[in-house]
């Protein structure tokens, strides 16, 4: 019983920040809030709206197009593109953002080259620091979500649907638009909802572009106007949007189960492309990989080489050590809690436990800025009680106990990334069926031995995956760390934010490339895994 109590209690703790934020939706308005409503709110809404529409359109075209080509068609380099197209996931959005500004700005290498070598008048050159620029960068960073899900949909049903449609007298083009695309709708929509969550949550990229959205509004209300309550009120509006997106996403996921048709049979059943189509497919996918991954990485490497002598010093080591330390701490807490919850769910399959755990693993949808606000409000409140209690008992007056400590940051990470950890642990846990325990019991292996010989080996992979994913996610995380870290606890991501807000692209390159390397680890493992399952 105590196991279940701990799990449910932790789940409720994880839910609290969300409830705290939501409660601000109904709070009386302050003066600063009035100011925000009068001056900023319309702009924030407008900016957020255009950004979302633009990024959705961009990721839809890139993601669905690339998925169709790699999943259903055959052309030179298909296998390479199949996995190369997910590489942009390794680059944090804010890194991609500053690299593109550095590349395409007036003083950047591209415009300089065109000006000095070709003497071209550059009036026509689009300004990268614009709405279009943010949309461009974020589409490139986020399309892999749509790509992965759409590819999965096309792989499981694409070819057969085409054959059915052709047998009914439709042309291939017609079949794509009339049958394959509509059937893949739940997958594509689910991918787009993930993109929408990331777009709403993004703080780093938009602040580098000086493009004001809700997340930057929240940050400014707190650190500019010093009004935590105004920040919370803005957060509550954003949170409501996010909840709507989550609901749609969940519905799409439920729909996917009903649309599942079956695996595509063989490699030979792909549609072979010829002539200009073949080279068109090759060329456009090369362009995506180049622009979204290779060129940014090249630029980062160039900057890194130039700045290596100055930048790789004890400060860099300090940043790296703190990033790794925080990530490892978060890994310990999250995998521990994930394991506990997963066991509890296995042991007590009742509705109450199931739903608490399910709600607790909704944190992945929370924008970091919103979460930070909610947690700091919570921590301030508990601190007040603690300080009062300590003063009553011992007479010592503390200024703060939890606030500004590592516990706050870790708590925030846990809320945000528990889903990631829990899901991969739980998918291993599902493999340990009740009958596995019983089979082992009948063979005389019970108790601790059962854990040693069955549970731990089977869970091992899930635990590794969970640890690795959480580690990388925490390494890349920016707004939570920025807003809740203890004094002096700068990490790689925080440093990138500080340097880029002063336009120091080159100096930000080494921390950035470190994060890209970290981000590549899970992608390589994912690739290996998918090769094992032969698809």
């Amino acid at each position: 019983m105590s196991l279940r109590f701990i799990a449910v209690f932790s789940a409720i703790c994880v839910l609290l920040p969300i409830l705290v934020i939501l409660s601000f939706f109904l709070q009386p308005e302050s003066e600063i809030w009035q100011h925000i409503v009068d001056i900023l709110l319309i702009d924030l809404l407008k900016n957020t709206f255009f950004l979302c529409i633009g990024v959705l359109a961009g990721t839809f075209v890139l993601g669905v197009g690339a998925a169709w080509l790699t999943a259903v068609c055959d052309f030179p380099g298909r296998k390479f593109f199949n996995w190369a197209l997910i590489l942009p996931l390794a680059v944090p959005t804010y890194v991609l953002a500053f690299v593109f500004i550095g590349l395409l700005d007036f003083s950047g290498p591209v415009q300089t080259l065109l000006r000095t070598h070709f003497f071209l008048p550059l009036k026509w050159f689009p300004n990268i620091r614009s709405t279009g620029g943010v949309i461009f960068v974020m589409s490139l960073a986020l399309y892999p979500y749509v790509y992965l899900l759409a590819r999965n949909a096309f792989q499981t049903q694409g070819k057969r649907i085409l054959e059915v449609s052709q047998a009914l007298g439709q042309s291939r083009t017609n079949a794509f638009f009339k049958a394959a695309l509509p059937m893949a709708r739940p997958w594509i929509a689910s991918g787009l909802m993930l993109v929408l969550m990331e777009t709403l949550a993004d703080f780093g990229a938009v602040s580098i572009f000086n493009y004001d959205t809700f997340t930057t509004g929240i940050y400014k209300a707190w650190f500019g106007f010093f009004s935590l309550s105004a920040a919370a009120q803005l957060s509550s509006i954003l949170l409501i949007f996010v909840i709507l997106v989550v609901i749609v996403e969940q519905q799409m996921r439920a729909k996917m189960q009903f649309h599942q048709v079956g695996k595509m049979t063989t490699e030979t059943s792909r549609i072979r492309l010829y002539g200009w189509k073949k080279w068109g497919a090759c060329g456009s996918l090369s362009a995506i990989v180049l622009i979204a991954f290779l060129i940014p990485c090249l630029q980062l490497s160039v900057w890194s080489f130039k700045s290596a002598a100055v930048e790789i010093d004890s400060r860099y080591i300090g940043l790296l050590v703190r990033s790794v330390f925080l990530s490892l701490m978060a890994v310990t807490v999250i995998t521990g809690l994930g394991l506990l919850m997963s066991y509890t769910q296995r042991q007590y399959p009742d509705y109450f436990t199931k739903w608490t755990i399910r709600l607790a693993s909704m944190g992945y949808a929370l924008p970091g800025t919103v979460l930070a606000v909610g947690i700091v409000i919570m921590v301030n409140f508990t601190d007040k009680q603690f300080i009062w209690a300590v003063k009553e008992i011992t007479g010592i007056q503390f200024k703060s106990i939890l606030n500004g400590t590592i516990i706050t940051v870790l708590f925030a990470y846990t809320v945000r990334f528990l889903t990631v950890g829990f899901n991969s642990i739980n998918s291993s846990m599902l493999r340990i069926t009740k009958s596995l325990d019983e089979a082992s019991t009948l063979l005389g292996v019970t108790g601790v031995k059962l854990l040693q010989r069955i549970h731990i080996p089977v869970l091992k992979n899930g635990l590794y995956t969970a640890a690795m994913l959480v580690f990388v996610d925490v390494m890349k995380e920016m707004p939570i760390t920025l807003m809740t870290r203890p004094f002096g606890w700068d990490t790689l991501a925080v440093k990138i934010f500080e340097l880029t807000s002063e336009g120091e692209w080159q100096r930000a390159a080494i921390p950035s490339i470190t994060l890209v390397f970290a981000g590549l680890i899970p992608l390589i493992l994912l690739h290996k895994k998918s090769e094992q399952t032969a698809l």
């Binding site: 069926t433 019983e438 082992s440 019991t441 063979l443 005389g444 292996v445 010989r453 080996p457």
Partner: protein, 348 residues
């Protein structure tokens, strides 16, 4: 006297006040294969789990090999019952190879003996070449055989099998059930399986118990279940056939729409009583000279035979299994004649 491999005496079990097993009794002799047959949800798996010791019983007692393992106050833990079990989902350990799966229960033996036993088991189920594979690399039938080898490894007194063939396709199911029976018989192992498939039960078991809602309707050989069902439920559940209405006119005669049937009654019936008479498809002979005519409603071609569904004059329907040389069309009237030596009938 050799004790029975398994004795189940009047066991009962309730879940939330609802009776799932009700005063259930049967015995299985040593070296025999028993089978509990019934619809899903009739409690057959629960009985298996009670015998294995995963579930407690509220009354009655269970003896394995002559020793008491369960009653209302005692429950010997499953690992001390010297049982093997094949699970419906096989429950193979996904992280272990076939060899290690089989040797899993043999840890207390010396390494040499263990290896020899594993080789024996691999040989027995014909998987010597797949010893180093992992379960996910095997086909369903192979996984099933690994599960069997693993259960037999520690040389149990009794083998339990929960729907052992339900995850396999039909053709494989038949072949494997014959194979498994041969393996068990060669080893002289006593076994109890549960299934909802009567072909499986007939192919595998020496003794079959037909279950209905937690109760045992009849514990008997396959022949007796088919030809001497003790209740209308069993008559209906086992094999094909229909019950037609009749009236008992003497102690070896009953009057039906097919004329007066004369033969030994399986169970005595009072004179003058209305009764339901079991007519199996093979009891009906196609005979153009017969005075009894019936209209063909449906036909089901089965290769050597055709199963006709016929309508008698009073709208009663019967089944007739006729050699497929006699190919008639639907709607046609054909002559039929009943041929029964022993009459199964139940007082209506």
């Amino acid at each position: 006297m050799v004790p029975n491999a398994l004795e189940v005496n009047n066991i009962s079990k309730k879940y939330n006040g609802k009776c799932v097993i009700n005063t259930f009794s049967f015995e299985l002799q040593k070296g025999y294969i028993g089978c509990l047959l019934g619809e899903s949800g009739c409690g057959k798996t629960t009985i298996l789990r009670c015998i294995a010791g995963f579930e407690a019983i509220q009354s009655g007692s269970i003896f394995i090999d002559g020793s008491l393992v369960s009653n209302s106050s005692l429950r010997i833990p499953p690992e001390n019952r010297r049982l093997g079990m094949v699970f419906q989902d096989y429950a193979l350990f996904p992280h272990l190879t076939v060899r290690k799966n089989i040797s899993f229960g043999l840890e207390n033996q010396s390494k040499k003996r263990r290896n020899r036993r594993v080789m024996e088991m691999l040989d027995l189920v014909g998987l010597t070449n797949d010893a180093e594979k992992y379960p996910h690399e095997l086909s369903g039938g192979q996984q099933q055989r690994v599960a069997l080898a693993r259960a037999l490894g520690p040389n149990p007194d009794l083998l339990l099998m929960d729907e052992p063939f339900s995850n396999l396709d039909v053709s494989l199911r038949e072949r494997l059930s014959v194979d498994v029976r041969k393996i068990l018989k060669d080893l002289g192992i006593s076994a109890l399986l549960v299934t909802h498939n009567q072909h499986e039960a007939f192919a595998m078991a020496d003794m079959i118990g037909v279950m209905k809602e937690g109760q045992l309707e009849q514990w008997d050989t396959a022949y007796n279940l088919y030809h001497r069902p003790q209740s209308q439920f069993v008559a209906d559940f086992v094999g094909e056939g229909v019950l037609v209405l009749g009236k008992v006119t003497s102690d070896d005669e009953v009057q039906t729409q097919l004329g007066t049937l004369k033969g030994r009654f399986s169970y005595p019936c009072r004179n003058g009583c209305p009764a339901n008479v079991l007519i199996r498809p093979e009891d009906i002979i196609h005979d153009d000279n017969s005075p009894f005519k019936a209209e063909i409603l449906r036909k089901n071609f089965r290769g050597a035979n055709i199963l006709y569904t016929l309508r008698l004059l009073n709208e009663e329907k019967i089944l007739a299994l006729v050699s497929s040389h006699h190919n008639h069309s639907i709607g046609q009237e054909i002559g039929i004649r009943p041929q029964v030596d022993e009459i199964v009938l139940f007082e209506a």
